[in-house]
């Protein structure tokens, strides 16, 4: 069992993580050249206009006061309004709207990667140096080598443009319009923002099919990369476990080698692989940025790219902190899974 204290301890760590990221973001934005006020009013604005915006934003206060104010706002995830990309809209609203999109994409990609990567890695280890092993290893290497921004376009060209089996971009067919809320037993509840979940909640089967069709290729593109990485990890982790003494003893007792491997080795071999899934989540987010760009999905990744391009600082700040929060939460989840598999870790 996972103790409550273990979870509380991990959750408490969120505070310094976000505190640290917020301080870093603050410091970097104040060290970077350029005046945010100029971004808002434009390069050709008069000095008076720039000064006015600076006063409005509090940029003329001493920096330590700005820092304390920034931290106070960051606690409630208030980064002010977007300068350019979603002009005038509070960053928090933009994030709430975009975040589920990216989470949905990353989640399906990761699930595909785990479903295929781990069995392939086990297979490769069990049949070490066989044809299967060689094919899996080369396949995994190829999966890591093929960039998302090549496999993505090629899959679109093949399955969407040429064959017409799947849509080219977006999240759901244009004919579908999803309301903001759904009703359960007479109460109105907000939707999640993830189309595959929302369409099911609304009971709109056709819209669900459309959402799945839209999500399929992007999830596969992310999944291939994740699968390649996980199968490599799983293989080497499995081989390492198999070499340990108790495995030799178990084999010497006369059980079939393959059954022994699966029975005793799997649980131990999974432990390091699961921890890597957490760390690898960051790479997955990077992949999501590219995938969203290719498939025209309006998630947090495309928004980050646009915000960087337009030096929309509040939006960049909000996104960076959101990524940090996500990363920490995912690793918290991984930690809990980990302690299920390896009860020693709690002490």
């Amino acid at each position: 069992m996972v103790s409550k204290r273990f979870v509380v301890k991990r959750l408490l760590l969120l505070v310094p993580v976000l505190f640290g990221v917020a301080s870093l973001v603050f410091a970097i934005l104040h060290l970077a050249p350029g005046d945010p006020a100029k971004v808002i009013v434009g390069q050709r604005a008069s000095t008076a206009q720039v000064q006015q915006v600076r006063t409005e934003l509090g940029l003329n206060d001493p920096i330590w006061i700005q820092y304390v104010r920034f931290l106070g706002d960051a606690v409630v995830f208030d980064f002010g309004n977007s300068y350019q990309i979603a002009r005038g809209t509070p960053v928090r609203e933009v994030l709430v709207e975009r975040l589920p999109v990216t989470i949905e994409l990353a989640l399906y990609g990761q699930v595909l990667g785990i479903l295929f990567g781990i069995p392939l890695g086990i297979l490769s280890a069990v049949k070490q140096d066989s044809i299967t092993d060689h094919l899996t290893r080369v396949g995994a290497l190829a999966g890591i080598s093929v960039p998302i921004f090549w496999s993505g376009p090629l899959l679109i060209l093949l399955f969407a443009t040429s064959l017409g089996w799947l849509p080219t971009s977006g999240r759901i067919g244009t004919a579908f319009f999803l309301p903001d809320t759904w009703t359960l037993l007479g109460t109105e509840l907000p939707l999640t923002g993830m189309v595959t979940v929302d369409t099911l909640l609304l009971g709109n089967w056709e819209a669900f099919v459309s959402a799945v069709q839209h999500l399929f290729l992007p999830a596969v593109v992310i999944g291939i990369y994740s699968m390649a990485l996980l199968s490599r990890m799983m293989r080497s982790s499995m081989l390492e476990v198999v070499r340990q003494d108790y495995m030799r003893t178990a084999r010497a007792k006369g059980q079939g080698a393959k059954i022994t491997v699966l029975k005793h080795g799997l649980r131990n071999a999974l432990i390091p692989v699961i921890t890597v899934i957490g760390i690898q989540f960051g790479t997955l987010l990077g992949g999501a940025v590219l995938t969203e760009t290719i498939f025209g999905i309006g998630g947090i990744g495309t928004m980050l790219v646009a915000a960087i391009g337009a030096t929309d600082y509040p939006l960049v700040q909000g996104t960076v902190l959101t990524f940090a929060l996500l990363f920490t939460l995912v690793n918290l989840g991984v930690d809990i899974t980990y302690s299920y598999l390896d009860p020693r870790i709690q002490q």
Partner: protein, 318 residues
């Protein structure tokens, strides 16, 4: 112990080449068919890159502007490869892009750019990593802690996201993209070099040199470099593939090479913008194929090198 020291001294007095030939590393590596295939791919790409630099654009070929600026007016845009249109194998073998530029020439020149910027990125990371790793090992204690812990943190960031953040701060340009990636890759080298340097420091012959008065990190670099050559090479090879992919990704997103540059990342982004919905697959296919094959070459070789360094991995289950 005494015998051990003698062998080591003998080994260090022999030439680098002899030692390489005698090492199990190289024979392990050469018996790995995949690694040899990777080596072949890299060699082929180097040839392509040099050919492109010399004969496609450059001193003996057309001026670079033929590859970068629009060729509309001279030729048809988005023309499919000649062998598809029944015009013979060698006319427009990869087709032309939205500005009627020859994709074959641009893709070939892309190999030169990828290898050039990959070399700069990996080279700078190696130099910085060797320096920092050696300093950390040599001074130990606080210096070691500060350097290596900083490296650890940098290592924990996902490379593309960290590079994006840096580019967000310092502005989008190829130079900044390279600097960002150097920052991202340096820790891997520092780590490897520090490990090797610590091993060398434990050896007596460095103690002896230091006792003779040569007490600065230069001595260490002189002894560390030969001893950490193999792990550094493995890291360089693996990171070379990564550097090429990450640089292309940054260019693809618009934060690297300038628009119009015949680099694979830019060509892929132009392919997505101009050919994705209308079905001109050759705009994306050929530059991406070269990119993927090159990266695969580095990954195959790097992977084989790692196995050759760590023979444990070759042990079989049964």
């Amino acid at each position: 112990m005494a015998a051990d020291t003698r062998t080591r001294t003998a080994a260090s007095s022999r030439g680098l080449f002899d030692r390489l030939r005698a090492s199990p590393f190289l024979s392990n590596l050469l018996s790995n068919r995949l690694a040899v295939a990777g080596l072949g791919i890299i060699f082929a790409m180097v040839v392509v890159a040099l050919y492109a630099r010399l004969f496609v654009a450059g001193p003996f070929g057309a001026p670079l502007s033929d590859l970068t600026s629009s060729q509309l007016g001279n030729a048809q845009n988005k023309a499919p490869p000649g062998w598809l249109a029944g015009q013979g194998l060698l006319t427009d073998i990869f087709g032309t892009d939205a500005q009627a530029r020859d994709i074959y020439e641009r893709t070939l020149y892309g190999a030169w750019l990828a290898l050039k910027w990959g070399t700069v990125t990996v080279g700078l990371s190696t130099v910085l990593g060797v320096g920092l790793g050696t300093l950390a090992a040599y001074y130990g204690d606080v210096t070691d802690n500060v350097i290596m812990r900083t490296m650890d943190v940098l290592l924990a960031f996902p490379s593309l996201l960290l590079a994006l953040a840096l580019v967000a701060i310092f502005g989008a340009s190829l130079g900044n993209a390279v600097i960002a990636l150097v920052l991202v890759y340096t820790p891997r080298f520092a780590r490897v070099v520090r490990g090797a340097a610590l091993k060398v420091l434990e050896d007596e012959y460095v103690d002896a040199t230091v006792a003779l008065g040569a007490s600065d990190p230069r001595v260490l670099v002189k002894h560390v470099l030969p001893n950490s050559l193999a792990p550094i090479t493995v890291q360089s090879t693996l990171n070379f593939g990564l550097a090429i992919i990450d640089l292309a990704a940054l260019s693809f997103l618009g934060f690297g090479a300038a628009p119009g540059t015949p680099s694979w990342g830019i060509m892929l982004s132009e392919g997505v913008n101009n050919g994705l919905l209308t079905g001109q697959w050759w705009l994306s296919f050929f530059p991406g194929l070269f990119l993927a094959v090159t990266v695969l070459g580095f990954n195959l070789l790097g992977d084989g090198m790692r196995d050759a360094l760590d023979p444990r991995m070759r042990e079989t289950v049964d």
